[in-house]
């Protein structure tokens, strides 16, 4: 146990930036989870597995094109779409029959789904880890007062707000977004005025899972793509959704910020137990506001 004694301002700024790019990934994954949880009331444990699947698919598509710049962009588009397609099939084939069940059953069912995806990934890609390089113009880093900051992280910092804006537009300005928000509050009433709630649910589920795939695709060049990356992210994503308020997109953003920043600053303060910091933050938030920071749709 050794606490870092003298932390320079530049190191702090660097860590905050790293934390913010981590926040982007966390936000994208958690917002998808929050959407599904808020509208469909499904605590989707398989969300992390879809994230992992997204990362592996990104690797495969990019590698088909020799990990070139074109391959990367193509993979970034194709991989989340494949994840979305798979989730569409799962929703229409399996989940849509189970909406009336209690949360415990839904949770266990999504767990079963995650077990199946996890083993299928193992079956297709084997148990070795994979790594993917970022496209040339996003490689390397620039320096902040002598500390290197990877270009790819800057790219993530641009993507994050774009996704947030897109989600805001989708939920507030489009018809399906408005119907989905209404269905989150009272699905019977929405059904009673003649809207096919089932298909709205399918759409929301697919969008949520797309975000998991997108998160996986974006994270692929920054870390080893491994079996087990699903287990790590899903717990974090659930925590973020809970401290933000179930079903609230902005809550997911706030939660991701808290989680990402406490994590990265924790690495600076106490590297071995950095993981403790975000959890302490989560517990503190929940002790003060058990229902989450922002208004939940529940």
């Amino acid at each position: 146990m050794e606490l870092a004694a003298n932390i320079t301002l530049a190191a702090l700024v660097q860590q905050v930036l790293v934390g913010l790019s981590r926040t982007t990934i966390l936000f994208i994954v958690a917002s998808g989870l929050s959407l599904v949880l808020g509208v469909l009331r499904i605590p989707n444990v398989a969300h992390g597995s879809l994230y992992m699947l997204g990362a592996f698919l990104t690797y495969t598509v990019a590698t088909l094109f020799g990990q070139s710049t074109l391959g990367f962009w193509l993979a970034l588009i194709v991989a989340p779409l494949v994840v979305a397609l798979l989730s569409f099939i799962a929703e229409r084939g399996l989940f849509c029959h189970l909406y009336e069940r209690e949360h415990m059953m839904l949770l266990l069912f999504t767990f079963a789904f995650s077990l199946v995806i996890g083993d299928l990934v193992k079956l297709v890609w084997g148990s070795d880890y994979r790594s993917l390089v970022a496209p040339v113009f996003l490689q390397g880093s620039f320096s902040i007062s002598g500390f290197p900051f990877p270009r790819y992280n800057l790219f993530l910092l641009v993507i994050g707000p774009l996704v947030a804006a897109g989600l805001w537009f989708l939920t507030n300005k489009t018809k399906i977004g408005k119907i989905a928000r209404a269905a989150a509050v009272d699905r019977e009433m929405v059904g009673a005025i003649g809207i096919n709630v089932s298909w709205v649910f399918a759409a929301v589920f697919v969008i949520g899972c797309y975000l998991a795939g997108l998160g996986g695709a974006l994270v692929a060049p920054t870390q080893n793509i491994t079996q087990g990356m699903d287990h790590a992210i899903i717990i974090e994503a659930f925590l973020i959704v809970i401290i933000g308020g179930l079903g609230n997109i902005w809550g997911a953003l706030l939660g991701a910020l808290i989680f990402g920043l406490t994590d990265s600053i924790g690495i600076l303060l106490w590297p071995q137990f950095a993981i403790v910091f975000p959890y302490v933050a989560v517990v503190t938030v929940l002790l003060i506001r058990p229902q989450g920071l922002l208004k939940s749709t529940w």
Binding site: R101, F109, I235, I275, V276, Y279
Partner: protein, 315 residues
């Protein structure tokens, strides 16, 4: 008191079953003796979860943390303290109960899904610390070659020890379920608002249930160490918690012995499927999906319903 708890038929069936289990090691190969000893530990674990899940209606999503904590408490006591080994068996469950109290104090203020999610997060924190703290817990390697008392050192010794401890704890759990506390607990499951209205302190009862369940999970943890002689962080990983949930679901969580049966089925399936394929979780996933679709009341639930059509599920 026993007369009130069991009718004659149940008592005789139980006695015959116990006698059979006591005789088994005389006939079985060593591997099966080991497998049964493991099943006793996990059956107790699943039953302890069901105490709060099936009878308390609490969303206990991270029960494995109490199990792993008990196993680690035992392992650390035995390897670090230098005191007589048997004391570890007494101390470890109380350590789990203390953790149950500490986590429960924070979590019981929340409801249902929030309760479960916060429990997963706090449990994951315990897991993460165990996973990282190399100098004390052995990190991701865990602790191996834990010295055990001579009496349970052999596989037959471990079998008898686990059988007797697990049977005693199951009996205690059964008595708890049928005690005044157990009745109130089931009342809370069926209608928390009404219980609150008639003056039951719901959160206090739930906290008590949590501590009791954690205690028995801790006992199961020590039984696991007795069989395997090692501990590792996976014992408190959240996926194990969901596996225990599956055991309860598979056996039937409104029936007292359902989870124990579920544990026996899952452990046997995993052991034998593991011989033929490395894709055991794929099989488990598919079995679970089928179960949720076609058999939501569990194997024993279905069996009892077939045997007695008048019997309806409580709650």
């Amino acid at each position: 008191m026993f007369n009130a708890l069991f009718d004659v038929k149940t008592t005789i069936t139980g006695m015959i079953l116990l006698a059979l289990l006591l005789l088994l090691p005389q006939f079985l190969p060593r591997f099966y003796v080991y497998l049964f000893a493991l099943i006793f530990a996990i059956a107790l674990l699943a039953t302890s979860l069901n105490l709060v899940l099936g009878f308390g209606g609490m969303y206990q999503f991270h029960h494995a943390v109490f199990y792993g904590f008990g196993a680690y408490a035992f392992a650390l006591f035995v390897t670090k303290s230098g005191l007589p080994l048997w004391i570890g068996y007494v101390i470890a469950p109380f350590c789990s109960a203390a953790l149950g109290l500490a986590l429960g104090l924070i979590t019981v203020r929340l409801h249902q899904l929030y309760f479960g999610m916060l429990q997963i997060s706090l449990g994951s924190l315990v897991w993460a610390i165990t996973y990282r703290w190399y100098s004390f817990t052995g990190g991701d390697d865990g602790i191996h070659g834990i010295p055990l008392p001579d009496l349970v050192g052999s596989s037959t010794g471990a079998y008898y020890f686990n059988l007797i401890v697990a049977a005693t704890c199951l009996l205690l759990t059964y008595m708890i379920v049928n005690s005044p506390f157990g009745r109130i607990f089931q009342g809370i499951r069926d209608n928390p608002e009404r219980c609150q209205a008639v003056g039951v302190n719901v959160q206090k009862q739930q906290l008590t249930g949590q501590v009791l369940a954690a205690f028995f999970a801790g006992v199961a943890g020590t039984l696991f160490v007795t069989v395997e002689g090692s501990v590792f962080p996976d014992l408190m990983f959240w996926t194990l918690s969901l596996e225990i949930l599956i055991m309860c679901l598979l056996g039937g969580w409104f029936i007292f012995l359902g989870p124990a049966l579920g544990a026996a089925i899952i452990i046997s399936l995993r052991t034998f499927a593991g011989i033929y394929t490395e894709y055991w979780t794929l099989i488990l996933g598919i079995v679970l999906m089928l179960l949720i679709f076609f058999l939501p009341e569990g194997v024993l639930g279905l069996f009892l319903k077939k045997a007695d059509p008048a019997a309806k599920r409580e709650g």
